[in-house]
């Protein structure tokens, strides 16, 4: 794997590193913009037939991906990840901006782009269920221009790689979800693409299969095949363990881009866990601090998206989480203030953010919550 974690070309408005990459990027996206018309009801269409309303799907998105890099795309549903993938796959035309894949513009040379970039369509129905796994791969090998012995060798090689060689003659309709996902990956790798687009590839896999699949992606796809991977995911494990860099999208805007640790540092360094005597005094004291860059965290997102209360009580003590902006000086000042007010502090430790919390932080700040 390339260690392309540190540097990224990012648009000026994005809170991210702005240097230039050392290697020529295999994908360069600049100012990509797309909007879709809002679907209207019959009455509205008759009332104002010529008026069209649009919803932005991508708003000036710019980034680049280096050869062999694992690039994660994060964001809530409707953030624009799938639209971005479909534009890169040449299935949707952008309204503005450009994307160049291995030197080929996606609008001017779509066929050349499809030679080097392959989307892994996560929908199992995109396989031919009445054909065997082997026949599915043979078909797509031919569609990618592979012939004869070369095609057969590649098909057999990939069936082995995804551990489907023994079941290659079975009809795909009888496969489990995990087997279908592996076949989808094998299909995408047929043409030895330089870029692979993966849209939530493990969403229908059990935890063990998902773990194996991630190992496969890291070792085989990015390692042996040297393929750049753009991965849209909601899974913290995938994003943090696989991706060299992460980009966060919301409502079509690129909010942040950088290595996971760097984003966590940038957005999560002010999060602390305090153990306090549970006498309710602490709540009044902390509540008074909100204007001084201290915020009491009441709840946080689980990775699944639901909220959980952060307080934990134990033997007369309570564990609370606070965000302290202002560095160590402000943290020291808070401890002094707590002591002066009679709040007994038993411990203070800095917290690591989960992916969901990191996302929450990035989205919160981009929505203007930076000074809270």
């Amino acid at each position: 794997m390339s260690g392309a974690a540190a540097v990224a070309v990012a648009p000026a408005e994005v809170e991210g590193d702005g240097g230039s990459r050392q290697a020529e990027p295999v994908l360069r996206v600049e100012g990509l913009t797309k909007r879709f018309p809002v679907r209207r009801g019959w009455f509205e269409m008759l009332r104002r037939p010529w008026q069209r309303e649009y919803v932005p799907a991508l708003q000036g998105v710019s980034f680049d991906v280096a050869a062999g890099e694992f690039f994660g795309l994060l964001g809530p549903n409707g953030a624009g990840k799938t639209t971005l993938f479909k534009i890169l796959s040449t299935l949707i035309l952008p309204d503005a901006g450009t994307a160049v894949v291995a030197g080929n513009d996606i609008v001017r040379r779509p066929a050349a782009v499809r030679q080097v970039l392959t989307p892994v369509i996560a929908d199992e129905r995109s396989l031919y269920w009445r054909l065997s796994a082997r026949e599915n791969l043979r078909l797509f090998a031919a569609l990618h221009g592979l012939r004869g012995r070369e095609a057969e060798t590649r098909v057999e090689e990939l069936l082995r790689v995804v551990a489907l060689a023994d079941t290659g003659e079975k009809m795909v309709g009888s496969f489990s979800s995990g087997m279908k996902q592996r076949l989808l990956i094998a299909r995408a790798l047929l043409s030895r693409p330089r870029i692979l687009l993966l849209d939530e590839p493990t969403r229908s896999l059990d935890p063990l299969s998902a773990r194996d699949f991630r190992t496969f992606l890291r070792e085989e796809v990015a390692g042996h095949q040297g393929c750049s991977v753009i991965l849209a995911t909601h899974s913290a494990e995938e994003a943090l363990n696989l991706c060299d860099r992460l980009a966060v999208l919301r409502k079509g805007e690129l909010l942040a881009i950088g290595a996971a640790e760097e984003l966590a540092r940038r957005y999560g360094e002010e999060r602390y866990r305090l153990w306090l005597r549970d006498d309710e005094l602490w709540r009044h004291v902390l509540a008074r601090q909100t204007t001084g860059g201290v915020r009491l965290i009441e709840s946080r997102s689980r990775d699944g998206g639901s909220k959980e209360n952060v307080y934990q009580r134990e033997d007369g003590w309570v564990r609370v989480e606070v965000e302290i902006r202002g560095g160590r000086e402000r943290t020291a000042a808070l401890l002094t203030e707590l002591n002066s007010a009679g709040v007994v502090v038993a411990g203070l430790e800095r917290m690591d953010l989960t992916l969901a919390e990191l996302l929450d932080r990035i989205l919160y700040r981009s929505a203007g919550g930076g000074d809270a």
Partner: protein
């Protein structure tokens, strides 16, 4: 060509996996000929004079008309059917993400359907021959040329239906309208010259009219391609004009769907 063959093969294997459906399709074909044989036999005395120029044998006359209808129905319906099916299953998106060209995709999608139609047509002709129709088997290559032109003349309506499906998610009434008009005015069950004069002119705008005239003379009378050159010439004009319109419609629909973001979205 390699990509076309791969798509045809995949569709053939898929169709073959539905064994009962495939067997029933052949059985129903054979069963359907029997009533046609008896009905045309009963009408033979009435129709004999009218179809004297086309061999005078009414069962043979209708049989060739039926065979031609199989092909034009396939040309009009196959592509929208395949695209609709691939849109529903999601395979269209996967295929469109490969470097396959549009012409290869269209040919590959309808290729197996046309081969299957050819097999059905040969079965029907063989059964007809066994039941007494004088089929000029030696002229099959010439008949294939006419059928090829008929397919190419009707395929544009399939392209237009597919364009409508891609752009608006419905193939619309075009296919049914074209097939209805061709059945009524193209001379499948009666020669076009018996149609009332005020609509007879309309039949001259139907490619099937010329295709069937040529096909009947070739298959039932053993005429050569040179003997039906006039009908072939008119068919070629239909092909050139209609194919331009069909290809343009499909190209525009794909462009519209790519802009609207609805390509490969059901």
């Amino acid at each position: 060509m390699h990509r076309v063959m791969a798509l045809v093969r995949a569709r053939a294997l898929t169709a073959a996996s539905y064994r009962v459906q495939m067997s029933l399709s052949v059985v129903s074909l054979l069963v359907g000929i029997v009533p046609l044989y008896f009905i045309t036999g009963a009408l033979q005395p009435v129709m004999a004079d009218t179809i004297r120029a086309e061999g005078g044998h009414y069962f043979g006359f209708v049989l060739v008309g039926t065979v031609a209808f199989y092909f034009l129905s396939a040309a009009v319906n196959l592509l929208p059917g395949e695209i609709g099916s691939d849109l529903r299953t999601g395979t269209l998106e996967a295929v469109l993400s490969t470097p396959t060209r549009l012409a290869e995709l269209v040919s590959g999608m309808i290729g197996f359907g046309l081969l299957w139609t050819t097999l059905r047509a040969l079965i029907v002709l063989t059964v007809g021959w066994l039941l007494g129709v004088q089929v000029a088997w030696s002229q099959l290559p010439a008949a294939a040329v006419v059928i090829g032109l008929l397919i190419l003349a009707y395929l544009p309506f399939g392209l237009m239906g597919s364009a409508s499906l891609i752009a608006f998610r419905t193939a619309g009434p075009l296919a049914r309208g074209i097939l209805f008009a061709s059945t009524l005015l193209g001379g499948i069950y009666y020669p076009t010259r018996v149609i009332p004069s005020w609509i007879q002119d309309l039949s001259s705008l139907i490619p099937l009219t010329y295709g069937l005239q040529a096909l009947r003379r070739i298959l039932l009378e053993g005429a050569s391609l040179v003997a039906v050159a006039e009908e072939l010439g008119i068919l070629v004009v239909f092909v050139v004009v209609l194919m331009s319109g069909g290809a343009l419609a499909l190209w525009l629909a794909l462009r519209y769907a790519r802009r609207a973001g609805t390509l490969a979205q059901y």
